[in-house]
């Protein structure tokens, strides 16, 4: 671990030494494994930035490559997930939860780790970080070994290891889900954004510049749960992170416009952004031009805020906390006022630049609240919100039945510039494994459509228990899940129906004309409106 911090290019020999000192018992244990371990056979897919395509299939491939220490790769390569031999470099610490030798720990489909450059563990999705320090040491060794070209991913049979270095932080995903390396990288970026949003990139950098072996967990205490929730949402809520789009609450357009106008009216000194949300979904938002200037808020930042205010910690009282928007400015804080309105799940977020502005923001909130009463909006929002209450996840407020297309089970729809829409997950996708399966299928299709080497526009995929059709055009991106018995012609019919329905409901489903404080010169045309506020990406 210590050696990892030594960025001065450890020679291969150096890495070997590290191994020797850290995992003395490894040789013997590995010998009993599934693989007989002659030097080198498995570091097939080891990739470096230099090699152009990160989406290569994880198929066994070319010659034993680069000087990566084979013994490192070996750690991750056992084939059979169930009965793989100890791939832990250190099973001696036994017993503790999260020990890599622990059966349950190893049976997880995906692990995500965050560690410091010096190899100090910061976060692990499963198990206790302490028990994993040796495992993390291996990762540090891997990364610091491949200098110059940063190591990006390792494919080992059904496992993918994806590395992401962000300043002094190293993020690692180890997965045997169907997610592509690019998708996993997206997830790691989201994890990093989450960390930056509580600490800012600048302060993380400062801390580690000051003290390389600082234990960042001290500062992140309490944020681990937020990271857990983020990662769970990928498994449970297909499409949340996948499409990189914010979801909004279906709402009649006049009401949404009125609410947008209300937010624009209620201001406070230093107010930069006001957001109304319910259950992690956007109702409407307004952006102060003077503060956020021409810079439009990135959907990823908005999604982060929506997830953040959805946290149970904000369920009571009026909260005041610093928050950083990583895409907007990773080095600075905003101050956020968060309150539930009228004891309802409807949540108001006021983001400002002034640290002392709590009382001004509270006054602003009262204006918003009064305005909403005057509009009679509370009841309508209450109805929209009541849907999301029924499910623990942030389920959208309509069912797939609304489309009236028999055979359609679920869909994801994202206008090219805009928010994603997906209906509530219903039977047969009510159980966790089934949601996971669906999520996996969507991920697989997404990876195929967006493959860097051979992108596709349309995929018709007959899976074991369902049929899927995914389609990308210049206007939208659509994933549908259909009953397994549907014919190709039937599927086309369903999709046509669905698109017709989306068109009809467009005003209700999407925020097509995001409100702003002042209209920037270009935003008058329809085209520009689509580009508006949170609809980039």
């Amino acid at each position: 671990m210590e050696a990892g911090g030594d960025t001065a290019a450890p020679a291969p020999g150096g890495a070997e030494d590290l191994e020797d000192t850290q995992f003395p018992s490894e040789e013997t244990r590995e010998g009993g494994g599934v693989h007989a371990v002659p030097p080198d056979p498995e570091d097939e897919g080891l990739e470096e930035t230099g090699s152009k395509d990160k989406n290569q299939p994880p198929s066994p491939s070319p010659p034993p490559q680069s000087e990566a220490p084979s013994s490192n790769c070996r750690l991750w390569s056992p084939a059979a997930p169930e009965n793989s031999p100890t791939r832990s470099p250190e099973s001696s610490s036994g017993g503790q939860g999260g020990d890599p030798s622990d059966e349950e720990w190893r049976s997880q489909r995906k692990h995500v780790f965050v560690l410091s450059e010096a190899g100090k563990p910061i976060y692990s999705r499963y198990g206790s970080v302490e028990a994993l320090s040796a495992t993390m040491g291996v990762m540090t060794a891997l990364v610091s070994f491949v200098q110059r070209d940063a190591i990006r991913a390792i494919y080992a049979e059904d496992h993918k290891l994806v590395f992401l270095q962000q300043g002094p932080l190293l993020l690692v995903a180890m997965s045997r889900t169907s997610q592509s390396a690019a998708q996993l990288r997206g997830e790691l970026l989201a994890v990093h954004a989450q960390i930056v949003s509580t600490l800012t990139r600048a302060s993380v950098a400062r801390i580690f510049a000051h003290k390389q072996n600082y234990d960042l967990r001290r500062l992140l205490a309490g944020s681990e749960r937020t990271l857990d929730r983020l990662l769970d949402s990928v498994e449970q809520d297909p499409g949340a992170l996948l499409l990189g789009a914010v979801r909004c609450v279906p709402l009649a357009r006049p009401l949404r416009d009125a609410l947008g106008a209300l937010l624009r009216r209620c201001t406070a000194p230093g107010l930069a952004l006001s957001v109304l949300a319910v259950g992690g979904r956007l109702i409407t938002a307004a952006q102060e031009r003077n503060v956020l200037a021409e810079c439009r808020l990135d959907p990823a930042d908005l999604q982060l805020l929506l997830d953040w205010v959805g946290a149970p910690a904000f369920a009571a009282g009026e909260a005041w906390a610093p928050v950083c928007l990583p895409r907007f400015n990773p080095d600075g804080f905003f101050y956020a006022y968060v309150a539930r309105l009228d004891a309802m799940p409807v949540c108001l977020l006021l983001l400002g630049t002034q640290r002392e502005a709590f009382h001004a923001m509270a006054a602003c909130r009262r204006l918003v609240e009064d305005g909403m009463h005057a509009l009679g909006a509370m009841r309508a929002l209450g109805e929209a919100a009541s849907f999301s209450n029924t499910s623990s996840t942030s389920a959208p407020a309509y069912s797939v039945q609304a489309v009236e297309a028999p055979g359609l089970r679920h869909f994801l729809y994202k206008p090219l510039m805009g928010e994603a829409q997906l209906p509530h997950l219903e039977a047969p996708y009510s159980r966790e494994e089934e949601r996971q399966r669906l999520s996996d299928l969507y991920h697989r299709l997404h990876a195929r459509l967006h493959s860097t080497s051979r992108p596709l526009r349309l995929i018709y995929h007959v899976a074991e228990k369902e049929t899927l059709l995914a389609w990308v055009t210049s206007k939208f991106e659509l994933y549908t899940c259909l009953s397994p018995l549907v014919t190709k012609a039937g599927a086309i019919l369903v999709v046509t129906k669905l698109l017709r329905w989306v068109k009809k409901e467009e005003d209700r489903l999407f925020i097509r004309y995001p409100p702003k404080y002042s209209t920037p010169p270009a935003a008058s045309t329809d085209q520009a409106a689509h580009n508006g506020l949170f609809t980039g990406l």
Partner: protein, 212 residues
Amino acid sequence: MAQAHRTPQPRAAPSQPRAFKLVLLGSGSVGKSSLALRYVKNDFKSILPTVGCAFFTKVVDVGATSLKLEIWDTAGQEKYHSVCHLYFRGANAALLVYDITRKDSFLKAQQWLKDLEKELHPGEVLVMLVGNKTDLSEEREVTFQEGKEFADSQRLLFMETSAKLNQQVREVFNSVAQELLQRDDGEGQAPRGDAAVALNEGPARQAKCCAH
């Protein structure tokens, strides 16, 4: 929240109850938020760590007079200390909370007291030491006696509570309220809350996106 009007300026209009500012301090996960939630909403749930600080108000009747408690619940995590510190100023009362099953939280509470004395003039703030989680008394690491002795030595009020079982929570806040009223009456109509006013009207020296 249906916490009615919560004007930041407690200009003692006769109809309006006098406002007092109370801060909850202590290390992480000792139950500060749970105490506030129990008191204000009579609710208990395992909430995640507080993010930043949270603000509650509650009107308390003490005898014939009523007063408004403005409760600032602060995050125990150190990353939020700087933002919370702003709102400590002008506090009339502080609850120093520790977890009776964690000795370190008790020691931390003593540290908090020192910080508090640096920040505020002694005697100006009413401080109560609160040992929370009496429902876990079999895992107790800090005895009642220890707490009591420390409180006495520093001339603090002292109580043990269980936010989970709703034991002594109301009493804590009520006795603070009572004490505040008494002090306030003793000093005549000292214009409490001025500090708060000064704060929100303070000059906006934060630039855009102040780097932290």
